[in-house]
Every structure is written in C-alpha cells, then in structure tokens.
Assembly symmetry: D5
Homo-oligomer: 149 residues x 10
C-alpha cells in the first residue's frame, strides 16, 4: 500500500532516470508547460484524472499511484529551511539579498499587497550569450491588494 505522496514522487524520479525520459517529454504527455508539469510530478501540484493517467501510462505507474497524483499534496519540496543544494540556494540568496528590494518596488508601483504565488506562472529559457549562456526566468503573478474592511 502506498501511504504517502513522497513515495510516488520517488517512483516517478527513479523511473525517469533509469528509462531516460526528459521532463519535456513528460510535459508533452501531460499537455502543459514543462514548469508546471515538473512541479506536479515532484509533488507540488494536483493533477486532473486524465493528466494523472497519462503520466501513469508513460511511466507504468500502478492505479494506486495514479490516484495519489490527483490529490492536493502537502507542498514544500526542500528538506531544510535554508536549502543546501547550491543551485537552489542561489534562489534563496536572491530572496535574502533582494527581498526588501522586491518589497519596496512592488509597493511603489502597486501599493500595499502581495504578488500571488498561486495565480502565478513561470517560464524558464536558455538565453544565448557570447560570454556564456544565461538562464532567463520570467515570473508572473497577479497583484493582490490588501483588503480594507
């Protein structure tokens, strides 16, 4: 019996590695962006029935695993408050160094409120560059003003 969503994540990752799939291939089967699809496979998003079945078929998952993919998972993909992996840490560092800057500029432009992390999308692309290619990430989130009542 599968008793946690993490077990399904591990199955997906292990199958992907040993059978040589890419996240882009998996995303095509799901029918959404590679960003959303990867997050969904890694246990951060809930899939619809047809999305889950498509992944299940591609990666030969059991019916039970397919059922788990449709559940809104307990989110949070990192093992520690401060990530130890250098790639992920750089993003945490950006929050740490630029956090107050983002706050000041969003408030200057929009007033008090937040940028949604739910009504949100992300697009990651390679940006060719003579001095070394760059990672370009566009993040777009709805501005939500604080409600006064």
């Amino acid at each position: 019996m599968i008793t946690s969503r993490e077990e399904v994540t591990k199955m997906i990752v292990a199958t992907k590695i040993t059978q040589g799939f890419t996240w882009k291939q998996i995303a095509e089967v799901i029918g959404h962006s590679k960003e959303w699809s990867t997050a969904a496979c890694l246990g951060q998003m809930a899939m619809t029935k047809s999305q889950a079945e498509a992944v299940g078929e591609l990666l030969s998952l059991s019916d039970e695993a397919v059922a788990w993919l449709q559940i809104a998972p307990y989110k949070g993909s990192l093992p520690t408050e401060v990530p130890t992996d250098p790639l992920i840490y750089r993003w945490y560092e950006l929050v740490n160094v630029y956090g107050t800057t983002l706050k000041e500029l969003i408030h200057e432009e929009f007033g008090d409120g937040i940028m949604s992390a739910i009504d949100f999308s992300m697009d990651l692309q390679r940006e060719e560059n003579d001095k070394g290619d760059r990672v370009s990430v566009v993040m777009s989130g709805k501005f939500l003003p604080y409600k006064t009542y």
Copy 2:
C-alpha cells in the same frame, strides 16, 4: 560616529519617507536600474564614489555616510531565516515549492551547475491585465557549469 552600514540604510529609508522621494527618483540620480539602485541603497550592493556622492547629495547624507556607501556590505536583508512579511514570504514559498523544479529544468537544459546570483540582473514591471494587473519579474543569470579538475 557611524559604526555600521545598517545605520546608513535606516537614514536613507527615513529620509525617503519623510521627504517623499521614490526609488525611481533615487535610481535616476544613481544612473542605474531601479532594481539595482534600491538594492544598493538597502545595503546589498557597494556603490562607486560618484554614485554614493549623488545619493548623498539628494538625501543630504554626511560625508561619513557617503564613505560607508562605498564599502561592500555584509549582505542579507531579512531578519529571519523564513521571512515573516507576506510579500517576501511568497518569494520564499516559490523557492520552497518550485526549488526542485528549477533544479530539474536547469540541469535538463544546461547540465550540472548553477544560475549565478552575482552575474545577475532583474527587471520588475507592471503587466496590465483585465482580471487584475500582474507583477512580472524577469531574472537573468549566467549559467556556471561545475568545473571538473
């Protein structure tokens, strides 16, 4: 005697609030983007002599404060490991939820390595939208492959 960079940051913020400057105005005086300039004023970047003097003149800072602006500061702008401010927390949440996704997709595209948080730029814009305007942030960082030796 000013004995820490934080004191200068507090002076800049207090003067900006009571005299009604915007970060865009300050950035124009500095001559760089509003993103970099705000980060620099908030103690996350070192200014050149002329940048520091321009800020000093606009905000009536002492020579001592202007000297401190040219020092590479001890960076990190948040008071706690997990930020409590809702706007900044949303960014931490993005790292927490999408951290492993970013890792997987960058490795799929570029191999092992990181996206630099140093050779990095950021551009924040309002994106008009009928369902509510959006915050759009473009982040661009050089990909740095792990060196084999």
Copy 3:
C-alpha cells in the same frame, strides 16, 4: 529621527495606555473595523493619508510618525516562530492541530488552491453563553485556485 515603523507602534501603544483610549475609539476615528484598524496601528497594514492623519491627531503624533504610518510595513507581529504568549499560542495550536483538517476540507470543497490571507476580513465578537461567554471569530478569505499553465 524615527528610523523604523516599530518605534511608531511603540508610541501608539504607550499613548493609548497612558491616555486610556480603546481600540474601538481609535477605529472610529480611522473609519474602519476595529480588527483592521488595530492591525494597522500595530504595524501590519498601511494607512491612507487621511487615516494616518486622523490617528495622528487623536494620539498627538508628529508629522514624521504620520508619514511612517502610510508606508507598507515589514509585517509579522510576533517575536518568535512559536509564540510564547498563551492567548496567541492557542491560535498557533489551532493551526498545528487543525492545519491538516483545514487543508483537507478546503480541498474537498474547492479543489487545489488556498484561502487568501490578503483578500481577507475578520470579525471578532463576544458570544454570550450561560456556561461562560465565548469568543467568536469569523474569518473570510477569497479562494484562490492554483493556476495551470
């Protein structure tokens, strides 16, 4: 020179105590609910110019303090991750004990997403009861579904 919003909060609280105002009186001057007004005075919400001036007049605050009240503050009102005050701890305990219950029931009713803490209102009332009066709190937040992209 006032160099942080916390200083203004302390002034408001000290004046309220020594001059005997209630939060309801302060809320009437601000023109909003006692819940929102108290949060705003305690440094968790930004006021408009006229709201800030009204509070400033009632509590004899300086112009500088009134300017600070209009700034979107760095939010988070508790000194530790786990609150030590017994009244506030009981709310943390509710999150700890009922957190997964809230998650399950909201997902069952609405699907994957969150209840907004920004587009949010709260109403606290005394509920008379023979076995001892009760505190009744109604919380209302917009449901925000996760966006698929």
Copy 4:
C-alpha cells in the same frame, strides 16, 4: 503490530484516496461535524468505541487499528514549526500578522485570559461571491479568564 497512531492515519488517508471516500461521508458515519471528524481521523482527537468501530467498518481497518483510534493521540499535525504548505502557511501567516491584534481585542472585550482551543468548535463553509467564492470559517472558543489566587 501497529506501533504508532501515525500508521493508522496513513492507512485511513491511503484508503480514502484509493477508494474515493470524502471526509463528509466519513463524518456522517462518525455522526459529528466534518471538521471534528476529519481532525479525529488525522490523529488529533480520540474517538469513542462506537465512533472508531464505525470508521473501522467503513474503511476496513483491523481491530488493532480500531483500538488505536480510541487513544488520546500525541497531537500536532504538521512536520515543521513553520508550515511549508501554502494553504496551511496562510493560517500561520494570519497568526503572525494578526496575533497581536487578536490579543488586544480579546483583552479589550474580556480582560486578561485566553480563548480556549479545547472547548472550541469550528465551521467551514463556502461563501458564494461574484468576485470569486470565499472560504468562511467560524471559530468559537470559550473565554477563560486568568484565575487570581
């Protein structure tokens, strides 16, 4: 041999997912609100013998599991001090942002004391709204004044 209540929680959740039950259906069998019943199934409340047997029958649990359901469990349903799941975090954020507000207003109305988290009930409903449906949660707890002795 089952050696912890967590194992029973995992069995209940896994069975619910793979057999497609809802918490409302489980609550009907238990004979209490969906809020209390879900918390009880997730290991936060002790059931009576008949409640436990009803759940056991519905979900085909062993006698041993049914015995565990009647034990007052070690409560606390979250894996970290600060929850990482965005839905649950929003509740923690409310405590963090509004904690001192709740404290001030309850003291203003009732004097020194707390709102009980034990003699407590909760009701979660969908509130239809043209701008997007809202989650409405009513929390009611007995006020307990500090005893002077």
Copy 5:
C-alpha cells in the same frame, strides 16, 4: 516615555534588589499569594488598578508605570526555548522526561483533554526533611475535556 512592559519589570526588580524588599512583602501589599503576585510583577499577569497602585506606592513607581501594570502583558518570561538557568531547566527537564507520563495518566483518569494553565493555581512550600529540606510545589488546574461538535 515607557514603551514596553519589560521596562517596568526591570524597574521593579532593580528597586526590589537595591531597597531589599522580599516578594512576600510585595505580595502582602497586593493582597494575593506570593506565587501570583511575583508572576504579576514579573510581567506575566495583569493587575487591577488598586493592585497596581499598591505596588506603585511601595516601590515608588511613576503613574505611567502603574498604568502599564494594568495591561495584559505579552507573556513568556524566558529568553530561550530551552532555558539555560539550571533551576528553571530542571522544570523543563521534568516536562521533557515526565511529559508523556503526565499525558498518559491524565488521559487514563479523565479522558481526552488538558489540564488548564489558566484556571490554575500554584503553592510553593519548604518541606523540612532530615536528609535535606525539599521544595514542595502543588499545582492545581481545571480539567478541560475536548469538545465534540
């Protein structure tokens, strides 16, 4: 201007030390047990007007300080999660070593619920003993059963 209850606590403690009062003498003036009175002076309980004035007179506190004594304070008297002071640590150790024992025995006697820390009293006495005197502490708290709804 006094801007926190901690300042009043420090004044009380400093005056008590330099003028040589005992907690028993202060408790007599307040008119309650030495346990409750000491906790109130140390910022853990709110005093009534007459209690605060009595303490104020005895220790020559200002009117402002007397006003602060009547406010429900932000409770929690220890600087760290795990106390470093050996006397106080022994009490933390008792919770750590006997915590699950207290839980088991209270549940065995009363069912699911808690012992109140609010409707609570404490009495500390010297217990003479040939092998060395003992500290005897009687703690009495109302049992509060979990409400089913």
Copy 6:
C-alpha cells in the same frame, strides 16, 4: 534483534492498547507508584531485574526486551524542543510563564541552588470540584544548594 529502547517502549504501548491494560494495573505489578511506573515503561527510568520481569510477564515481552528494560535509557520523551501536544504544551507554558517566578521564590526561601529533578517524586490526583474537576499534581524535589569551594 532489538537495537533500541524505543522499540521496547513502542511494544509496551501497543500491547497495552490492544490488550486493554491500564497504567495502574501495570504499576501494581511493578510495585511502585503509577507515576514512576509509567515513566519507567515509557523509557525514562531503568527497572530492576524483578520489575522488568514482572512487566515482561504481564505484557508477554521477549527476554531480549526484558534485558533492555534494565538499562538506564537515553532519556527525553518528546519529539521537539517545544512540545506540540496541547496537554504537554500546557506544562511547557507553565515553565515559560512561571519559570522566573519559581526561580525567585525558591531563591527567596532557600538561597542559590536548585530543586532536584532526580531526588524527586510526583503524585497526580483527581480533585473533585463543583465547577469541574481539577488535576492536582504534587511535586517534591530535594533542594540542592550550590557548593562553594
């Protein structure tokens, strides 16, 4: 092979639950108070050979388990520094709120030193009361003065 005392604790608890023993019955077999006996079964005290054999016989434990019961265990029965269980948390709260009070009053009565948590006993009783029964706990620990050398 049993490789930790925790395994034996889990066996004892599971057997007690499924076979319906009470801690009082187990304490009678051990021949000591219910407080000490429960703590010993929960891995906080070492038993003598005859005590361990009596428990082993009552609960059908293996010889190996009985051997482990006679070992001085690594003590500490809680999974986190701040306990999440509401019943146990109330005791931690008492230490947090009354810790400095206990320190002041013990020092006022006895001078510098501590109340032992080793030469210590505890007695928990139901105290009948018209307004709701109370939990009464008497704690007695030897006072140990700091040695001057």
Copy 7:
C-alpha cells in the same frame, strides 16, 4: 539605575582589563578558589554580602552593583546553543563526542542517576610536559541516584 546582572559583569570585566587585575587576585580577595570566584564574577554564582563587598572595594563598584552581586543570577554564560568560540567549543565537542561514553561508564559504575552540576567543584592546573604543557581539569560532582517512589 542598574537593571541587569549582565551590566555588572561587563563593569567587572572592563575594570579588570583596564586596571590589569588577574582572576587569581580577585579570587584571593573573595577567599575562594579561582574557579568559583571567576564564575561568580561572570554572573554564574551568587556572592555573600562580604564577598560582594570585597569585590566591590577592589574594583571600585557602586553600592548598587554590590547589591546585584548578591542575587542568584539567571545563569548561562554563552550567547548561542552551540558555542562559536574555539576554546569553549572544544568543551562542547567533548560533550558531543564523549557524552554517551560518560553516560555508559557512570551508569556501569553507579547505576541510573546523574553526576551533580550543583554539588560540584572544579580545579584547573597547568601540567608541565616536554611535548607541550597540558591543561588538566579535575571535575568532581556528587552522584545522585534516581529516586524510586
């Protein structure tokens, strides 16, 4: 007004440094070992009236400071859970590396119980040695067996 024992500790240390006293000289005036006397000056032990006056005279402390020296202080002399100072860290490392060894050997020799840190003395000496002098520390604490009741 002196409002904490830490202020007195800082005065003692500063006076000692600028006037060139040694801890041995201070201990002679106090009339106890250099180990106990240093701990007392650093805010870890309470002095008698005559000890405090002797220190006060030697270091020209005010009467108020002398009064504070006679109070049982809130003990714990380190700023972090894991000490950062290399000399003090080595002692923490010894507890970390040899902690379970000390536990095993004391239990093997004495049975269940602890070595007292209250009825305790310490003697630190230079041990001359051709390969480099050694620090020799003798620690002696009363064994306290767990009481069975």
Copy 8:
C-alpha cells in the same frame, strides 16, 4: 550489506546488553582504557585492525562489521544540539555555566589558544565520600597556542 557505522554501534550495544558484558571487559580485550574503548565502540574513534578483530571475536561480529570498526567514523554521539538526557545535559550545563570561566582561566594561565580535544585523555573514577560518593573525572588536553604568521 552494512551501510553505516551506526548499524555496527547498535549491534555492539544490543549484544552487550543481551549477553551481559561490561565496558570494562570489552576494554580489556581492546587493551586500552575503558574511556577510550567505550568511545571507540560507540562510533567516536577508529580502531586498529587487531583492536577491531578482538572486539569482533568477543561480540561475534561479522567480518564486514569488523572492517567498519577500522574506519574513522563521522563523530558526534548525540541526537540533538542540546542533549535531553539528564546525565549528559549536566555536562552541557557545565559548559554553559562554566564555559566563560574555563576560557578566562586558561587564557590567564596560558595566553590565547585552546585545550585540545584531540590530544586528550580522560579518566573517570568513583570517589568515596561519607555524604554520598562522587564522580571524579580528570580531563587532560594539550594546550595549543594560536600561531601568529
């Protein structure tokens, strides 16, 4: 396959308990002090081939386990930063209370530097005493002065 040193430690401890060996007996077979030998068995020191084989023979360990005993292990024998076990905590308390005293006295005698925890030995003895036997521990570590370069 044994994949960690901790597994070997658990085997040694379990065998010692069920077969009734003492650490002194094991130390005799190893040919070193009981202090060093216990630490080595508990995974804090590396053994030579002959030491490991002697322990392996006495406790019937596999060849694989004997190979692991010869590896320099990842040291640190405690599960938490602040130990919860009362016996081990007392040693942490000594570091906390006397840490700055040890620092002051070692610097007064030797200048800047540390007492080595590597070139270190420890001897634990029972000290008979009419008022209750004492644990006497002699610790000896080489003084290492900071190198100036």
Copy 9:
C-alpha cells in the same frame, strides 16, 4: 528499485570499505583528481556516462546505480547546519573565525563580488614538517564581480 542518490553513495562507501579500495584508486579509474572524484562518489557532483561506468565496473554496481551517478544530485553532504564531526567542524570554525577576514581581504583586492564555489578546484597535500606534518589545501576559485545593471 533505487529511489535516491544517497543509496548509491552508501553502496559505494560500503563496497570501498569491505573491499579495501582507496579514493586514489577510484580517482584513477575516473581519470580526475582525487578531490573531484571523491566528491562525485559522495554524491556532490554528476559524472559523465564513461566516468560512471568506470566506477560501476570497479565497484560492481548495478546499471541502475550507474544511471543515478550521471544525475546532478541534490548537494549538501552534512547532516546538521553546524557539523558535529571534529575534522569537519574545524573547517566550519575557520569560516566562523576567518569569514569576515576573507570577506575584507577579497574585497580589498578585487572589489565587491564573490569567489566562485562552482568554477573552483581544490588540491590537498601532505606537507612534511619536523614539528609534525601539516595538511596543506590550495583552493582556487574564479572571482565573480557583482554585475551593475
């Protein structure tokens, strides 16, 4: 099924210990420095297909394990924020004691920026010395200046 890179690390370490390989031998098979090769085997670097196959052949790893070796792993090799192992702790201590020194000197020489930990190499050698051999480590990392934009 292998479901994590840690499992492969454990296999490599266990095989190395029981079959008596050295890291130098493994590095020769991989064809890179012993520093990079050890880090790669310990799960901190991704191998190429041929490197992974060479290690797999030497240590008789399964195809699945060889596939895992080619994945960019979640890096970070220590179980706690502050390492408990004395050898590794000394490096953490160097960062703690010399961290601000490194920062000052690198900024003095290069201006604001960092030393890369990605475009980085390390060489560890024995340095013979009459007073005791020394460990000599040369670290070389590209300087990356902060980009102004």
Copy 10:
C-alpha cells in the same frame, strides 16, 4: 567605559572606512601577514602589547581600547549559523559540499585525527587568469592525530 571587544572592532572598522586605510597598511604596522592582522583587528585574535599600541597609534584609539586588543576575545565573527553574506556563504557551501570529501582524503592520507584550526596559517593571493582572475587561498594546518590512551 568600553564594555566589550565588539565596540573596539566597530571603532577600528569605522575609522578605517572614514580615513581610508587598507588592511595591508594596518598589517604593516602590526608586522604580520594581512590575513592574521585583519582577523586580529576584527576581534578573532589577541594582540601583544606592542602590536596593540601600533594599531592604536595608527587609528587614534584610546588607551582603554588598546587594553582590550590584548585580551583573548570571544571568537566567532558571524551573526548567524548559516552566513547570509554571499561571499562568506560560498565558504560555508564549500564545507557543506566538500566536507565529507575533506574528511575522507585527510583520513586516507593521515589516519584518524584533524587538521588544526589553531596551528594554522592562511595566504590569500590574486591569481591572474585570461578567463578572469582567480582567488587563490592556501591553508595550512598541522595534522593532529587522535590520542589513544
């Protein structure tokens, strides 16, 4: 009155910034390497009388400050366990990523023991390189074998 070494560090840093000294100039006055001298000025090493006087003269420090420079300071130069400054973090990252590698290779070469952080020196140089200059740091520490006793 100066009551902590940190105050002297702040004075030195502030004077250096406003008067435009470099660490190399300060090191020349001290007569040691720039690495040791900077660490000493930043409160990590104790100076001799003549070194302290030389620094005091150059930076116009008071006699009191010069006395503090000769005291072995409480070491540790970072405000948090995990450093937030990107330059210093990279060094922490190296310990995190390469920590187990350093451990393995030092043990392979030297056996069980540590590399001293006390009998230690460091040399930081610019390494010119066409692809961008590099920071080269040579660290040399005496190997200290664990003593068997």
